[in-house]
Amino acid sequence: MEEQIDISVDFAGLKLANPVFVASGTCGYADELADFMDINSLGGFITKSITVKPRKGNPTPRIVETDSGMLNAIGLANIGLDSFVQEKLPIISKLAVPVFVNVAGETIDDYVAVVQRLAGEGRIAGFELNISCPNVAKSREGRLTAGGLSFGTEPAQAAEITSAVKKAAGEKVLMVKLSPCVTDISVIARAAVEAGADALSMVNTFTAMVVDTEKRKPALANRTGGLSGPAIKPIAVYLVNKVYNEVAKERGIPILGLGGIRTASDAIEFIIAGASAVAVGTASFIEPGCAVKIVEGIKKYCAGHNITNIKELIGCLG
């Protein structure tokens, strides 16, 4: 029975063997997780954020655990574009699954520079535009550009950066990663899609704070961090469903759903709510092979519910 079930999905013109990705920042550049699973058995892979120049990241503590979740404020620590091309691209090129490179920066030029350099690489399927990292704040010319977060919270800026990067991306798929820290996420989603986004990934972490009551200081050196893990899942499912109904469905734009997924039933919730694919993030820290188990679990769910093609499930919420 399970052999006859089709769990492949179409994702902005890409044919994915299954709908499960590992989320940016939770799977490094692929070699780190190779000890724990066969990444080629996933639907796709998303790299850690790449910026033009290497970034040291924030001082420690960079994480703190919360009830059913964690805050992180890594600060986009990464090896930079040049080292990525020299050291990591050859590794990623060995993957047989579609690879998205997550791109971050402080200015539109930063983003465009990374995408331009990588757009000609045959083994890269697309880019995930990180306009929603809550952990880097830098004042530039009097304007706060929070590691891209202001690109993700103001519709005009979201449109401007999407449009600029789309031109640089050429034929590659452009996926825009949305912040949940906005009044109406559909406004930003619409701005990104109308400016050329081929797909949306949602949601990034929620800006949050933990207070150390002994020291009467924030638990994180960065003061605030992004909340992830099972704690955010119901909000993420709601937001995916909202954007699916209000923006994505009518325009045929696929959504990559993420936020607290650690089991196949979590993934199925997102798919029913409107996600064409899902990404496993924080759960990989606890169970590095978790995403592969979710692929198997999705097959079992379909078998147990007489579903022969997973596409029947996408957005079928009653």
Binding site: R62, S68, G69, P230, S284, P288
Partner: protein
């Protein structure tokens, strides 16, 4: 898998492995020693575990102690639903009949270690490891000095065993300190400990290693920081800096003082660092440790989990 692409090869089997609790000893106060036994692939992987390496243990499924057994100061934290694994180093590793036993010395300090206290013989836990880089033992050393601060005892007890068993030509002396007598993570009655070097700590004595104890409040042994006790001992004993190596594990302020002592005397020194970790396998980038770049005033962040937890103290930038 596509036949055109070569798979990214796994470097080592790090689990997750199932380990079975073979023993669990309440030492006293909040100190415990948990014994885990691995079979099969886990036994193979952990048989090679080096002193100073660590493992990530899943404790979210372990039960909380009964309400009346939860210390009052941990009552609020106890109810928190934990998510992440917790990293622990080993105080002993032994292999027999294709099984590997790994002992962990720990203190109940929060919701995860509180759950850990309820693990009983026969229970199983999920373990990822061994992870990180352990202590290294340079060929030319004749003296090894182990300096322990509080819970830093674990990996240095493991190292003590390795040094005695595999490096008979290296003379080893241990120094152990804590804030008070009650916070020394050792089993023996600690009341009559002298201020002289001797076989006062059974955990080191069983490896024929003499030790010296210090407590900040003088409740047993030397009164003062273990680093001061160690400095004083160094002043009274003529040791050859070139032939000596210091191994240390403890709170970061203590390690910073150790680094200073080692630098002043020109003695090699390896320290085991601690950081909050989400994954322990080099992915999450949480456990950054600030390090010097040779010939530059700039610094970089290395990862405690992958580049450490053991570092040569000369490369570290201590914030304190």
């Amino acid at each position: 898998m596509s036949t055109e692409q070569e798979a990214i090869k796994a470097k080592a089997d790090k689990g997750p492995f199932e380990a079975v609790v073979y023993g669990h000893k309440h030492i006293r106060e909040r100190f415990y020693r948990l014994g885990l036994e691995f079979a099969g692939a886990g036994a193979k992987a952990f048989a090679k575990a080096k002193a100073g390496q660590f493992a990530q243990i899943e404790l979210s499924t372990a039960a909380l102690p009964a309400a009346e057994k939860i210390p009052e100061d941990l009552a609020d934290a106890a109810g928190r639903k934990i998510l992440l694994r917790r990293p622990f180093s080993f105080c002993d590793v032994s292999t027999e009949k294709e099984k590997t036993r790994v002992d962990i010395l720990y203190r109940a300090v929060g919701p995860a270690t509180l759950r850990m206290t309820t693990l009983a013989k026969g229970d199983s836990v999920s373990v990822i490891g061994p992870l990180g880089n352990g202590f290294s033992i340079p060929a030319d050393k004749k003296t090894a000095l182990l300096v322990v601060g509080g819970m830093g005892a674990g990996p240095l007890l493991h190292l003590a065993k390795v040094l005695t068993a595999d490096y008979p030509d290296i003379e080893v002396t241990a120094f152990a300190g804590a804030k008070t007598k009650a916070e020394l993570p050792f089993e023996k009655p600690l009341d009559e400990i002298s201020q002289q070097v001797g076989f006062s700590l059974a955990e080191f004595a069983r490896h024929s290693i003499e030790s010296l104890v210090a407590t900040d409040d003088g409740s047993t042994g030397y009164e003062g920081f273990v680093t001061d006790c160690f400095s004083k001992w160094l002043g009274q004993n003529s040791i050859s800096a070139k032939d000596t190596i210091i191994y240390s594990c403890g709170p970061e302020e203590m390690l910073a003082r150790m680094a200073k002592i080692a630098e002043e005397r020109g003695i090699d020194c390896q320290v085991s660092m601690e950081r909050m970790m989400a994954c322990g396998i080099g992915v999450c980038q949480s456990c950054a440790v600030e390090c010097k770049i040779e010939g530059s005033s700039e610094t970089i962040y290395k990862l405690c989990c992958e580049d450490g937890p053991v570092f040569n103290c000369g490369e570290l930038v201590f914030s304190s």
